[in-house]
């Protein structure tokens, strides 16, 4: 039972220990951020130059294009479909962001929460159907 109560206290650090204890979780995340930046910088900028050769030549620094001379610049126009998918993504990602807090407090909201969220979901589903009918979801 000691383990159970430890677990309960651990999961409720925010309530028991206040914001100072809760901040520890994010300080730990910051430690990971620093380590994650330090590893590539250490390997690429500190250790790398000591180990790897550096003999650039014109042909070596050319852009790869199946062995031929590169033709033109790569940053030309591309398919507008990517933009449409980005727009769809923004709409549905925002929907998910609204769904998370709703799911967390679902048991306290009850039937009211269910009906309210269904209205929201159906509104977005109508949007999805519209995009479907307008052939936004077809690739070619």
């Amino acid at each position: 039972m000691a383990e159970e109560s430890y677990l309960a206290r651990f999961l409720d650090t925010c309530r028991y220990g206040g914001i100072r204890l809760y901040a520890n979780a994010f300080i730990f995340l910051l430690v990971f951020l620093v380590l994650a930046i330090a590893l590539p910088i250490g390997a690429l900028a500190v250790l790398g130059p000591l180990l790897r050769p550096s003999k650039p030549s014109k042909a070596k620094n050319a852009t790869y294009e199946s062995g031929l001379e590169p033709i033109g610049d790569a940053r030309s126009r591309y398919n507008v479909r990517y933009y449409l998918f980005a727009l769809m993504f923004v709409i549905f990602d925002v929907e998910i962001i609204f769904l998370y807090p709703w799911a967390v407090s679902y048991h306290t909201l009850g039937v009211f929460g269910y009906v309210e969220m269904m209205i929201f979901v159906v509104l977005l589903l109508i949007g999805l159907m519209y995009a479907w009918r307008k052939k936004v979801l077809e690739w070619m």
């Binding site: 651990f10 990971f32 590893l39 590539p40 620094n61 980005a86 990602d93 979901v121 690739w139």
Partner: protein
């Protein structure tokens, strides 16, 4: 020293955090090295080949030799590339892939787990930053294959992020918390969520495979048409960091699937971390198995599948789960 979670932060506690971070970093580098080895070996066996067997006993040193080779390889930056972005892109891709590991509860003692109330949300938010690194890498290379690969990657990853995010809402709804530790404890007390949330689990694994750019969704790096996609121009250790990111995400996503649907570290008799390792390995094996079995799907099927199949099914799953939870 290691009880920094249950006491206010001191210098010693901070040292414990740093030790924890470094340990996880070492662990993940080891795991990734042998993930690559086991992937090659397992796919080899499935295709009636032997797989790597030259370097060291049973080829166990193969991945280490590959890493060393990449480390001493020349770092080529193309003349036409956007130099600063080109150098930055692998780092932007890698950083979030390592940060998400801070959120995953590996053991029941919670020594090296960030106990935030928004763990799941943070995982999804951090993992989507990697898309930025990939698009930047593709764009900065100034190579037609890279640009196309990067754009395809972005389109695919943002499309599949929506079913991925929706499939886990059922779990959040049943637990009433976004804290990954709470989710595991709730499962160890009642039932693994794979049983009430089987539809969610299937969608999670499919969308996860697409997020990882792995077969059958490996269009962004289709070798035969895009010459490795967004990292065509990368060589040496910068290329290694893109590969590292990919394999860290394989581990992280399987760890997340274990945490959300397979009961995390909970299980009888054995210590908690062994249970976690067994379940995560099973998930990873599944991903390798899929790669050995499935062909690559067509580009026009890819987007349609996310928007016309996965999202409606995920929404239906959510509506049914919420309805049942109401009863």
């Amino acid at each position: 020293m290691l009880n920094w979670q249950s006491s206010p932060l001191t210098g010693i506690g901070f040292l414990g955090m740093v030790i924890g971070g470094v340990l996880i970093l070492g662990l993940i580098l080891g795991i990734v090295t042998y993930l690559i080895y086991f992937e090659r070996k397992i796919i080899g066996w499935m295709q009636l080949r032997i797989g790597p067997n030259r370097v060291g006993p049973f080829g166990l040193m193969q991945s280490i030799a590959d890493v060393l080779k990449l480390l001493i390889k020349e770092d080529i930056v193309p003349e036409n590339a956007d130099r600063s972005l080109f150098l930055l892109a692998p780092i932007i891709a890698f950083v979030p892939s390592f940060m998400v590991l801070a959120l995953i509860p590996f053991t029941a003692t919670h020594v090296f787990t960030s106990n935030t109330q928004v763990g799941l949300l943070l995982y999804l938010a951090l993992s989507s930053i990697t898309i930025l690194g990939i698009v930047l890498g593709g764009w900065a290379s100034n190579n037609k294959y890279s640009l196309l690969g990067g754009m395809r990657s972005a389109a695919q990853m943002v499309s599949y992020e929506i079913p991925l995010g929706m499939s886990v809402i059922g779990v959040v709804l049943l637990t009433g918390s976004l804290n990954l530790n709470t989710i595991v404890v709730a499962q160890s007390r009642h039932i693994w969520y794979i049983i009430p949330q089987i539809v969610g689990f299937i969608i999670f694994m499919i969308a996860g495979l697409a997020e990882l750019n792995r077969t059958p969704f490996d269009l962004p790096e289709a070798e035969s048409e895009l010459v490795a996609g967004y990292f065509t121009e990368y060589s040496g250790f910068r290329f290694a960091f893109f590969m590292l990111t990919e394999y860290v995400y394989v581990f992280a996503l399987c760890a997340l699937a274990t945490t959300l649907f397979l009961g995390g570290w909970s299980g009888p008799f054995l210590p908690s971390w062994i249970w976690f390792a067994i379940k995560t390995s099973a998930c990873i094996f599944f991903i390798f198995w899929v790669r050995a079995t499935m062909p690559r799907i067509r580009g026009d099927q890819l987007m349609g599948f996310a928007w016309k199949v996965l999202i409606p099914v995920a929404l239906a799953n959510l509506i049914v789960t919420a309805g049942v939870a109401l009863l």
